[in-house]
Symmetry: C2
Subunit: 156 residues, 2 copies
Amino acid sequence: MRRVPRSHSTADAVGRATAPSALSARLGYLLKRAYAGYLAVQAPALQPFGIDGRLLAVLSVVEAEGPSLQQRLVERLNVDRTTMVAIVDRLEQGGLLTRERDPQDRRAHLVSITRDGERIRREAQAAADEAEKRFLDGLSAPEQRQLRRLLQAVID
Amino acid sequence: MRRVPRSHSTADAVGRATAPSALSARLGYLLKRAYAGYLAVQAPALQPFGIDGRLLAVLSVVEAEGPSLQQRLVERLNVDRTTMVAIVDRLEQGGLLTRERDPQDRRAHLVSITRDGERIRREAQAAADEAEKRFLDGLSAPEQRQLRRLLQAVID
DNA sequence: TATTGTTATACTCTATAACTATA
DNA sequence: TATAGTTATAGAGTATAACAATA
């Protein structure tokens, strides 16, 4: 927070490591560190709820879109279907989701959120939002919007 | 392939997945996707040189700072020392780095870059820079600088 | 034949613990 | 005792292949 990194002459510390001047300009390095830093704030915030960011994402999609086929969640979240099996397993075991056969297509499983799931999602989301806010603490409100906008643009 | 699931009104495609409206606002999602997108461009660019971004980072630091102890590289690059052993192993086997005992402290290994290492580093760096440029293609030059600045600020 | 979900399996990345040789 | 490097090992995360049930 204190150090405004002067890149060349100063050996500025980034997080727990000493910043390598040869790397601090590289976008991959910045993105990796930023994402790692985000996880380091988010993980402990979600830990009391027994879920991580990916599980929260699944809960959010199911609550926003209603009962969903696993295949649909796979498309939404960009994870492998075998990974989705494990995610839904965990959420089902925790009583946050239910799985049932889709009457229209008996190959498919319809995933629905439970009352507990809705509550946990709401509370975990609030905790994650709070963590996100803390993570962005060093930026002004316009800078925060700008960062989101630029990341969004780069993803497209 | 056929189904464009038209979530609500805007069915915007992000990369290979359909963007979940409930998630597109979340910073963790944006950072993860941005980093993944970056890797998807960088990896094939570096592939001809037989290295990845992390190996290139090590080469860059050794070339920029001269013969370095592994411990120093660990501090610079923020990876575990056991991971650094594997990285230096690979670079040494490829003939890009050499390892020798430090006469001052015979516990330590001094890592130096070879002629081949310098050449590969230069060529791979150019390829990575080109990939980075393509990745940022959708942003104006000021926006690119802004993105770097904001990521840098958030890391501190 | 193709698709949904599943299991088994493997591969990468990373971290922990224990060891060695030095200090 | 502590440190640099190493090895063995285990845990996540993710992907591939093969299978059952269904379309």
